[in-house]
């Protein structure tokens, strides 16, 4: 065995490497699997479940599930898309996401996923949680309203920046990203040069002094939907957001 194996994704046979996750194998084959917590520079985590697919009819997170020979995967079926759409909608109502004024608009993976899935409004009631802003750091800002608890920043601080500036605190609905120390981000050794803001998929962790610098038409998702660089385009990006 040379470490190659074959899986089936939506009826299409795909060659994969042993040890790859479903998400990685699909990506190599030009099949986009939506994701928020997964990031190519970070360890796998499996928290957001946006990459949920069906393996043998059973829901599993594609970003953590290793491929197995002969695996039969649904990535683009109605049922899978409905599961993912529901998860994305729940992420929207759980926080306070006001895309129209957010400085990450047009460059936000959550917003881009909503556009890709055609979500114009959530079916669930908004929870409008009261969450503070940690703005005390001179170069960084943590807006908990927009956090989806993907944990990219926590992993980036440890794995890429060699620090432990951020971690998780609380449980259930009270779970949140917390800076390491009583003074919030300002009390940590995080700096504006760290990768924690760069990897944030939404407008939760931001570098100060950079907002709205990219004009309309030049933002990441202005012309191509999220995943468009991996698979065939699934529709025109909308002009007005």
């Amino acid at each position: 065995m040379n470490g190659r194996l074959t899986i089936t994704v939506d009826g299409r046979r795909i060659e994969a490497r042993a040890g790859q996750t479903i998400l990685e194998a699909c990506q190599d084959a030009g099949v986009y699997v939506p994701r928020l917590c997964a990031h190519p520079k970070l360890s796998v985590y499996g928290s957001c479940r946006v990459c949920t697919c069906l393996v043998g009819g059973r829901a599993t997170a594609a970003c953590v599930q290793p491929v197995q020979p002969g695996m039969v995967i649904e990535n683009d079926s109605d049922r899978v898309l409905e599961i993912r759409r529901t998860i994305i909608e729940m992420l929207f109502v759980e926080g306070n996401h006001f895309c129209m004024v957010c400085e990450k608009s047009g460059d936000c993976e959550l917003q881009a996923l909503a556009y890709r899935f055609g979500i114009t409004h959530p079916r669930f009631p908004y929870m409008f949680p009261e969450r503070p802003i940690d703005a005390g750091h001179p170069e960084l800002l943590l807006d908990h309203d927009r956090c989806v608890l993907c944990g990219r920043c926590v992993r980036a601080s440890a794995e890429l920046d060699g620090k432990s500036a951020l971690g998780f605190a609380g449980r259930g609905l009270r779970r949140r990203i917390e800076a390491d120390g009583p003074r919030g981000l300002a009390g940590t050794d995080a700096t504006g040069d760290d990768t924690i803001a760069e990897v944030c998929p939404v407008g939760a962790l931001l570098r100060k002094g950079t907002a709205y610098r990219t004009p309309y038409g030049r933002r990441r998702y202005d012309h191509e939907p999220i995943g468009g660089d991996i698979d065939a385009p699934c529709g025109e990006a909308q002009e007005d957001r």
Partner: protein
């Protein structure tokens, strides 16, 4: 309410931006006892920008309105430039913002004149409402209607070229702008600018002819003497983007002049009244009784000494030659003044497009953070104040906005009362046409009560006459 008094309600007021209603109380002899314009919306932006990072505010506050978002975007940006420690923008940044602002003035004034006001002016205040609307204008005056649509479109295209979108565009960031014009964008706008200038001049003529042909009828219509407030350049010329505050009283005497924007609170105060969500600003030195003032196109012409662009200046001179020395107090002359500003805006657009800075690439400056700043701009409807305090964490701790329409609150109420007294008093039957007179007086100010509401034929207007016991005597509906 006495035994036989009546209360008339016009709700909502139509062909204005936003939601408002008028109540008119008549006594037993059908004489007007009280007439009020109520603003029934509450927006709360001053509260919910608190805690937000200051750079977000220029984007956040433009959601106040879908008609004049540019004005809020730029007024807040001017304040946030100062918060970011930037006193002077780069030439490119300032000119891009001016261009965007002129596009906004052009499109907003065109929208108001052609779509909202012209049916009253062309067909008469009490013409058949089936004709007295924008479709009626399109049928009877197709060329005028076409020009109105295309002029508004041109202004919107200016906004899109500068800010990326026609509505809720973003170009200003604290300390500058995020883009300038490409040569292609500039050339596309230049291609149409002369035609737009000619049409704007023709619109001045329409407004002038209407005013002069009907002067006898409209001279006293909703008119009264008042003070006027606006921005001027240091040399006294009309200034819409970045000027100094000047106010004149009812005789034209200067109350304050060339006042720096951040001193506005020394000369202006706001009064709260229980029956409206809109405050009543007044000039401190005159007190709340006498200190109310007007803003907007007529007020701006009354406070400035000249206009910097030639065709608009000629139109300004013709305006005062026909109506007498400033201050002009004819409420319906707002329309003529508004069209003179349309002409000025498009002339300014032309000048800016020919300026090499408009395609420059020096966009941003930086400075040392401050805690407090005021941004003032002349929005289409009048002087717009944005005042903020920001803490050391970059979060807004205080916001105070005096929106143009707020300054015109007392004048609009006076106009409503006067028109009601002139046209409704003593009549025991109130027709739709008579009630439209009240709305015409309000429309002269082009009030923006917040979000756009105009939708021909679908706008419900309900007027109810009730006796003292609340029994329905008469009811008229429209829409």
């Amino acid at each position: 309410m006495t035994e036989s008094s009546r209360r008339i309600v016009i709700e909502p007021v139509t062909r204005v931006e936003g939601h408002g209603k008028v109540t008119i109380l008549l006594d037993e002899r059908h004489r007007v006892r009280e007439a009020r314009l109520h603003i029934v919306e509450f927006r709360g932006f001053e509260r919910f920008v608190q805690g937000r990072p200051y750079w977000e505010v220029p984007v956040l506050v433009q959601r106040l309105c879908g008609i004049c978002p540019v004005s809020h975007h730029l007024a807040a940006s001017k304040a946030m430039d100062l918060i970011a420690g930037v006193e002077r923008l780069t030439p490119t940044a300032e000119k891009i913002r001016r261009l965007m602002h002129m596009g906004q003035i052009f499109q907003s004034h065109a929208l108001h004149f052609f779509h909202l006001a012209s049916p009253d002016l062309l067909f008469g205040f009490d013409a058949d409402p089936a004709v007295r609307n924008v479709l009626g204008v399109a049928q009877k005056h197709p060329e005028l209607a076409r020009q109105g649509v295309l002029m508004r479109k041109y202004g919107q295209e200016v906004i899109r070229a500068t800010g990326g979108k026609r509505v809720h565009a973003i170009v200003a960031v604290p300390g500058g702008v995020n883009k300038s014009l490409s040569a292609a964008e500039r050339d596309a706008l230049l291609a149409d600018v002369e035609r737009m200038t000619d049409w704007a001049e023709a619109a001045v003529g329409v407004a002038r002819d209407y005013t002069l042909d009907n002067l006898e009828q409209i001279a006293d219509f909703g008119s009264f003497t008042s003070s006027h407030l606006g921005l001027v350049r240091a040399d006294g010329a009309l200034e819409l983007y970045d000027g100094l505050l000047r106010a004149v009283d009812e005789t034209g005497q200067v109350i304050f002049d060339r006042l720096e924007n951040d001193r506005y609170a020394e000369v202006l105060a706001e009064e709260v009244r229980s029956w409206s969500y809109m405050k009543f600003p007044f000039i401190r030195s005159l007190g709340p009784e006498r200190g109310w003032y007007r803003v907007g196109p007529l007020a701006r012409l009354n406070v400035c000494e000249r206009i910097t662009t030639p065709r608009a200046e000629a139109a300004r001179r013709a305006f005062f030659a026909a109506l007498g020395d400033p201050p002009c107090q004819v409420t319906m002359a707002y329309h003529w003044a508004r069209m003179i500003e349309v002409l000025h805006a498009v002339e300014a657009i032309h000048e800016l497009l020919l300026d090499p800075d408009i395609t420059g690439d020096e966009l941003l400056r930086s400075g040392t953070r401050r805690e407090e700043a005021v941004g003032v701009i002349e929005a289409p409807r009048g002087t717009l104040f944005h005042h903020y305090r920001v803490d050391e964490n970059d979060q807004v701790t205080m916001a105070n906005l005096i929106v143009s329409t707020t300054s015109n609150n007392e004048p609009m109420n006076r106009a409503v009362r006067q028109v009601a007294e002139q046209h409704l008093s003593g009549r025991d039957r109130i027709t739709e046409g008579l009630l439209n007179h009240v709305e015409v007086a309000i429309r002269a100010y082009d009030p923006c009560l917040s979000c756009a509401t105009h939708a021909l034929g679908q706008m419900p207007l309900a007027v109810e006459l009730r006796d003292a016991d609340g029994r329905l005597l008469d009811r008229r509906t429209r829409g």
